[in-house]
Amino acid sequence: MAFGNLSLPTREDFRLAALVTRREVRDSFRDWRIIIPIILLTLVFPVLATVTAQRMLAFTAQYGGELVGERLMPFLLLVVGFFPMSFSLVIALETFVGEKERKSLEPLLATPLSNGQLYLGKVVAALVPPLTASALGILVYMVGIRLTVGWTIGLELLIQILLLTAVQGLVMVAAAVVVSSQATSVRAANLLASFIIVPMALLLQAEAVIMFWGTYATVLWLIIAGLLVTTLILVRMGIHLFNREELLGRDIDHIRLGWMAQLAWNRFAMRGEDGRYPSIRLWYRQLFAFLPVLKLPTAVLLAVLALSVLGGLLATLLFPFPEALQAELTYERIVSNARQLQLVVGDLPTVIFFHNLRVLALAAILGLFSFGVMGVVIFMLPWAVLIYLTAQFALAGGEPLRFLVGTVLPHATLELPALLLAAAAALRWHAIIIAPPREQLISESWLLAAADFARVFIGLVIPLLLAAALVEGYITPRVLLWLYQ
């Protein structure tokens, strides 16, 4: 019964979820607005696709372009599978938010069904009719294309297309649950569904290009793996969001800007329940007490850091500098560059400081739209580049340690902790919607994590970056010159 809390589902969970699924599927099969398009897409569209493939093959053969016609056949297989699957999104929106709108959800929530059982039952119900239609469509197309042009699909491609279709459906349904939880009407949910339709359309276009390219075996597996990871994240979010509190906690779509601002400000300023603000000293003490919360994102980032070091080394082996460029990596060149830097040393700390701020702001913004992934990527890139350059220097006959100490170490002692802190707080903020604390609403946890990020950023990161910029501007070049002269 603890399935909603992410423990393994029991037999009773499956029994009750199956009851929900059966009812929903029966309901879908009684709705002609769902059934007629599914039948058309299952039977008529694959026949049309077969005829199209046959004609295209004949047409391209006239001009010696048989290859184009041949590449069209697996592509059409992909499309034939995807089109009925796209209905999973419609059914999911209907089954999740439609039920909320028709007020039939509350009686269901008053039964002993757990959130997890209800979620599982509804997700499966949204997948069964389109998945069946999709498999039938693929079968009709396969038989048609075999009989008309004699093309037989390979086993690996068939498995890939079936898996891809199923996972795309899962992604759409799992995303539809997330969308539904934030909407109180089907109309609002349909508008929000653009956030699902647009990426899926782009993905389909990318898949089309891959299918026409011809060498799709590995890439399709990678896409399936990527979609599975996305599904896991969305399911995790969905299970958290699909709970009685989120579903019935608010009946009207509105944004309480005042409340949001107050909540975030109170957390940032660490304002007490009595409305009093702490002293700067106490504020910092509370900030340091908060830092252990960042243990997990910091561990993730350190692992990423290790990976970027390995990536930098690997890149050096795969893409070594050409000899002409290696010849440039001399002590003389480094010293000469350092002397040039000394000419602009007055402006250097300001330039470095604002550059670092820009990078962190970019990472924070991009991370918001990618569950933190882009933020992590931006965090790892400079380290990979640094290791790549150091390794190139070593390849050119230099001493890598001396290079690192002379160019990075003095300011990195401040900059690395600053970047780690900022990236960890940002990662926690970006990823908290995947698994927010159970006692908080998703909006609440997101705002509080944003305020925590601001606390860390303003209280620790900015001072550390300022100090690092001063060291990088005034001390690192001197260390470099001292080491190399």
């Binding site: 009851l19 709705d31 509350e106 009686p107 008053a110 002993p112 509190e245 906690g249």
Partner: protein, 303 residues
């Protein structure tokens, strides 16, 4: 059966229910009255283990609404404000679905459903699609859904709201029987006559707080004072006003009619009638003027 202790529910910065305490015993029916948005639905949702209280705690049938939410939901039959039926299912299919969620056997569900259909004067309609049902029938199916698993506690939100008088009477009789069968019942309603006739106690909610609570009679006495009595005489009362004032608190005297209040009508009224008769004034009638619950409600809500 139901114990709520300082229940509070906050949505962001809005407090829907504040420090609400309530007790409903076995075999007791408590009516929750209050204007729209007073916090009745939120209270019901917390007691039904649908929403978690922000503060305070509640027990239903001995189970904690947060820690034993599953057991609470098993013990409760909830009739929601909106019937929320599935229009493409038949009545029987719908009840089979809900019954099986409570672990009931299909045969038992069918027998009990058909019996309740008959009880609520809907024979031979269980196989029809719910989309074809009238508003009143939909409401009755929702009530059957709430009663199907024979729960110890019933929470009924506007049970007769869409019904014709005959159907409403059938439902009220059923509620009365459930109470006699030792169920604890909470009734949310805007129908004050229904509340007065069914409820053992009434709790009036305003801005998320219970502002008045008691039996209908207690509430009337608390808020409207002692009952008012009206006397009709066969002669003008001008000559006996002083005698009347010695016995009761006069509020109105017209030629043949007087209205008054008294602390102890059982003692005062016979004396009053005797004195009037001795003074040559015949009493045609003496009756209590009924004070409606509506007056109580309006007075409480007006604050």
């Amino acid at each position: 059966m139901i114990i709520a202790n300082r229940l509070t529910k906050q949505f962001d910065d809005f407090t829907a229910v504040a420090d609400l305490s309530l007790q409903v015993n076995q075999g007791e029916l408590v009516a929750l009255l209050g204007p729209n948005g007073a916090g009745k639905t939120t209270t019901v949702r917390m007691l039904s283990a649908i929403l978690r209280p922000t503060r305070g705690e509640a027990f239903v049938n001995g189970h904690h609404v947060v820690k034993e939410a599953h057991a609470v939901r098993r013990s409760i039959g909830l009739l929601t404000e909106q019937p929320g039926l599935y229009d493409r299912m038949s009545g029987l299919e719908y009840l089979q679905f809900y019954g099986r969620l409570y672990g009931l056997e299909p045969d038992f569900i069918e027998r009990r459903s058909l019996a309740l259909y008959d009880r609520f004067a809907m024979p031979n309609t269980a196989d029809r699609r719910l989309g074809e049902y009238s508003k009143g029938m939909r409401q009755k199916v929702s009530l059957i859904r709430a009663m199907l698993h024979d729960p110890a506690v019933l929470i009924l939100d506007e049970p007769t709201s869409a019904m014709d008088p005959h159907s409403a009477k059938l439902v009220r009789d059923a509620i009365d029987e459930l109470r006699a069968d030792r169920r604890a019942i909470i009734l949310c309603t805007h129908n004050l006559t229904e509340a007065e006739s069914l409820a053992d106690r009434i709790a009036i909610i305003k801005h998320g707080q219970i502002v008045a609570q008691g039996s209908p009679l207690e509430l009337k006495q608390q808020l409207l004072g002692r009952p008012q009595l009206e006397l009709h005489a066969d002669r003008p009362l001008n000559g006996v006003v002083t005698q009347l004032e010695e016995l009761v608190t006069l509020e109105l005297v017209q030629e043949h009619v007087a209205r008054f209040r008294t602390d102890n009508p059982a003692v005062t009224n016979p004396i009053l009638v005797r004195k009037l008769t001795e003074s040559g004034v015949g009493v045609i009638s003496l009756r209590e003027i009924s004070q409606s619950l509506e007056e109580v409600y309006l007075q409480v809500i007006a604050g």
